[in-house]
Amino acid sequence: MDNIDLYAETNYISQTYSGKTESLRGIDMLKIDIQSAPPMVKLLCSGRLVLGVEAETLRCMATSRPERRVVVDLQEVHAMDAAGLGLLVELHCRAQRRAGMLTVANPSPCVRRLMALTHLESVLQVAGSAGIGMADDDESERCAMTA
């Protein structure tokens, strides 16, 4: 068993690499800021959207909202995996079944690249910030959740 790590900790602490602005390794878990302006809600995500508690958090958050139009802003999401991509498709299909709409807004370069690789840019509705209109900030409900 030389040179073998038996590693089963559950609370490993991430560290950011020195000299690099960001990497998947050092990216925080998912944080979601919510801006509600019925009938639309914007979920501003930051961190990583990957398999596990992060994807589950966004799923619970998005599916529990009463608004018919859900905007998932991924400008600050710098890491995503197949589970994260699958979740976006799941939410897109769910919105269609409910005569609603899911919009992916401001995908970061990393997210956009993965969406292009998996051809999801043609499936999901993707928009920049200019394409997303919200009510006046003061009138919208805001709260935040962190995974």
């Binding site: 040179n3 073998i4 790590d5 038996l6 590693y7 089963a8 900790e9 559950t10 490993y12 991430s14 690499y17 690099k20 960001e22 990497s23 998947l24 390794r25 990957v50 398999l51 596990g52 890491a79 995503m80 995996d81 197949a82 589970a83 991509l85 699958g86 979740l87 498709v89 799941e90 897109h92 299909c93 990393c110 993965l114 690789l117 998996t118 051809h119 999801l120 043609s122 499936v123």
Partner: protein, 139 residues
Amino acid sequence: MEHETLSSEFVFTGDPAAMVAVRDRIMDFLHEHCADEQQEIDIMIALQEGLANAVLHGSRNDPSKIIRCTVDVTSEAITVVISDPGHGFDIGVAADSADDGTNLTQHGRGIYLMRSLMDEVSYRHGGSELRLKKLRRQR
């Protein structure tokens, strides 16, 4: 390290929390050997997919199951081999589900992503051993 091979082996249990920890440990090991940040992210995503498949499908989230991951670094390539205790899977079916934009299910993108991001992706032992290879570029 022209003719040298740096190797490390990581062994962990078949639960998602352990997978995240070992993934970060592996990336710690690989960090200084990646050519740039993009290559590091590509390896990280592919590694995440491979480890997740080993936990979810190869071990069925069973913490009593053991997954082994060996990482070799040479001057030419970074190679990761993930072995799970499962019975493997039909590689042809999984490859057929590779994404062409018509996949509207939640699953079926992991292998496609790995193949898109790595230079070589291959399976042995009926699918219970995954080999990922990324050619190194000069830093």
